[in-house]
Symmetry: C2
């Protein structure tokens, strides 16, 4: 007997039929003698519909009231799933975030998990109940409802798995696992059996939308074994776990991220403190920076280029316009770019990886604008029109047709 | 400065425009220097839609999970109303039942109010916030969400008004107040300026749908001054208060209740304990009985007739079929009946009231099947086809055209 945490996203519970499908998966797990805790998101487009309702009344509602509003979506789905499980004849109880002891800070709209008081969940499991918990939501010290922000239900599931010392946390989605490339685009993309937390983090960050990256960070920190799998097929998914437990593999996958903009600041004075001034401005606005390149100084000036998400491009430009930092420098913003990355923990012991990637791009006549590397990742920034061609070429170089 | 509790039903907040209308009423009251607590129901048909969603998955869900589901409706409306008030530039906070300290027993689906812990509401008023509270819902000792049953938002409002020692509790509806008869049917029906709790209770019980009767009972018990008024017009409504504070008036109104069935059990043995056996069976099923008539015993047998609501008729008949109580007796159920009542606290000092009512019915050739009287009410059971004619005739007898 094990304790299994299962998380189902909004599309998995979008209508009555899918709710029954989820109820079947959950009770199949329970029937095998496992304790089961289930985390669910709001049904289908509920959250977007609630936001639209709010905006019709007030385009700028407070985040506190927005959290009260949108947390009602998960309330509906936990109750419906509990009713479906009742229909199948199994004991079940649904819990809202505050009932499940899900304590967060009071940053409404994007709250951070502080502590999970597990007493109620333990009591309900002790009564042999299947426990359904509303994802995405918690309670802060003011006894107010908070939400974790988009993708928060994954974090809820992993945090609950960690706090309850669950044996496994299964994240059910509409794909069968993690692939070496987007299977809708690359026909011979392969499903991975296993992947490390760090590799998964890179993939999440790079826009492979399978798992929210905060949830992977929590899983890594508390060593929660994750499984990404489909709620529609019965196939085993991809296990995300510690590197030490993993067979070595060269490259895990090739990803594309189009939500990226390149900002270049050209002609900066080559004096100390310039980088600090630029990036502290960005940090103050909580704008995440990805790749950073600084040219070698020449003629008393240097250039700094970096990437931000496309959503932040306008704000980033506005931040520097009309200010005296950078004095005398010229700012350029290019949103017609995409980031292509290869990810794999085995990479560091294979010096040929970068060369293989660059050769594949060269063969397709694709120009590389920026390069960034880490121990488990090589990323290049290219023109976005070349992105799909680039993924296909790089994937073919690492995963040749059998 | 006063503390005003205002309650708005589902139709008053059914869409964005109506939510803004309510926000205007609330802030008008706040602007005059009053503290304001607002209780809202779920928008329009939300509750029915949620119930339909549940039934699609499970025709017999547990009441606990049903309460989790339907309480989400008020959660949406409190957040939207708070956002509308934010838009108008006033400080506001929305509270769910459990946040407002609304403690009930654990009879899911029709919970009784136990205690209201007013600390949070007092704190929010102290911060000069307009306080919006979700009606219809509370929390029980197991930290579960409960609902009060249909019409529960009225009870929420009155109970909060009582606990907070509010100066007035205003119940906003789609009618302008309490009338001497249904104004859609009787053209010269008059709006009452005032009415006593007891009279209002009789009217509520008799199917004049203006106020939920539990709410009137609470108002009477804690002496909360109620006002029933329209959220669409600015006209003053009807005040419900203590008899001692009231000018005397003869008859308050004439009502019709069609949701009634007459059950007759004919030929019962005329021995002690028969009535107890019958009505304890009904009590065990929580079926409310209204009028009870027992015939004088004759030939060793007697007859008992009583009325129940039409919804309970089938269950009541089933309760006696195939059992040995009543032994040898014959049960009849008639759902083609309606109850017509005149209500008024002045009635006891006017012995002619019954005679006037019966004469009006006689003049219209309407047969009376049962009669029941109390200090402030005379009710008759008649054929339902005669009901509208009966109301018109009785109303005309007590409220002649001027």
């Amino acid at each position: 007997m094990a304790l299994i945490v299962q998380k189902f996203g909004g599309s998995s519970v979008a209508n009555a039929e899918r709710v029954m499908n989820v109820a079947n998966i959950v009770t199949d797990t329970y029937k095998k003698g496992n304790d089961v805790i289930v985390i669910v998101s709001a049904q289908g487009d509920t959250t977007d519909e609630l936001i639209a309702k709010a905006k019709e009344i007030n385009p700028n509602p407070s985040k506190r009231e927005m959290d009260v509003l949108i947390s009602s979506g998960e309330q509906v789905s936990i109750a419906l799933l509990a009713m479906a499980i009742e229909k199948l004849g199994y004991p079940v109880v649904s819990l809202l975030g505050w009932q499940a002891g899900f304590n967060t800070n009071s940053t409404y709209g994007s709250a951070r998990i502080k502590k999970i008081h597990t007493e109620r969940m333990h009591n309900e499991l002790g009564r042999k109940n299947i426990v359904i918990v509303a994802g995405f939501q918690g309670i802060c010290k003011y006894d107010d409802i908070t939400t974790l922000g988009r993708g928060g239900s994954d974090s809820s599931a992993v945090a609950i798995a960690a706090a309850m010392h669950a044996d496994r946390c299964q994240i059910f989605t509409d794909v069968e696992g993690v692939y070496t490339a987007d299977p809708r685009k690359i026909s011979n993309a392969k499903k991975l059996d296993e992947i490390t937390y760090d590799e998964m983090l890179e993939l999440a960050t790079l826009g492979a939308q399978v798992l929210n990256n905060r949830s992977v960070e929590i899983a890594k920190k508390y060593n929660v074994e994750l499984e990404v799998l489909s709620s529609l097929t019965k196939a085993p998914g991809t296990i995300v776990k510690e590197a030490a437990k993993m067979e070595k593999m060269f490259i895990r996958g090739v990803t594309k991220d189009s939500n990226v903009a390149r900002i270049s600041i050209v002609g900066l004075p080559d004096v100390p403190g310039i980088a600090f001034k630029i990036f502290s401005k960005l940090a103050a606005k909580k704008i995440n920076v990805d790749i950073i390149l600084q040219s070698v100084g020449r003629d008393g000036t240097k250039d700094i280029a970096f990437t931000v998400s496309k959503d932040n491009a306008g704000e980033t430009v506005a931040l520097f316009e009309g200010t005296d930092v950078p004095k005398g420098a010229k700012l350029e913003c290019d949103t017609d770019v995409a980031k292509i990355s290869v990810v794999g923990a085995g990479m560091e012991s294979h010096p040929g990886t970068a060369a293989t990637m660059f050769e594949a791009l060269y063969n397709e006549d694709i120009n590389i604008q920026m390069i960034a590397t880490s121990e488990i990742k090589i990323s290049v920034l290219i023109n976005k029109d070349d992105a799909d061609k680039a993924v296909a070429a790089v994937h073919a170089a690492f995963f040749p047709e059998e």
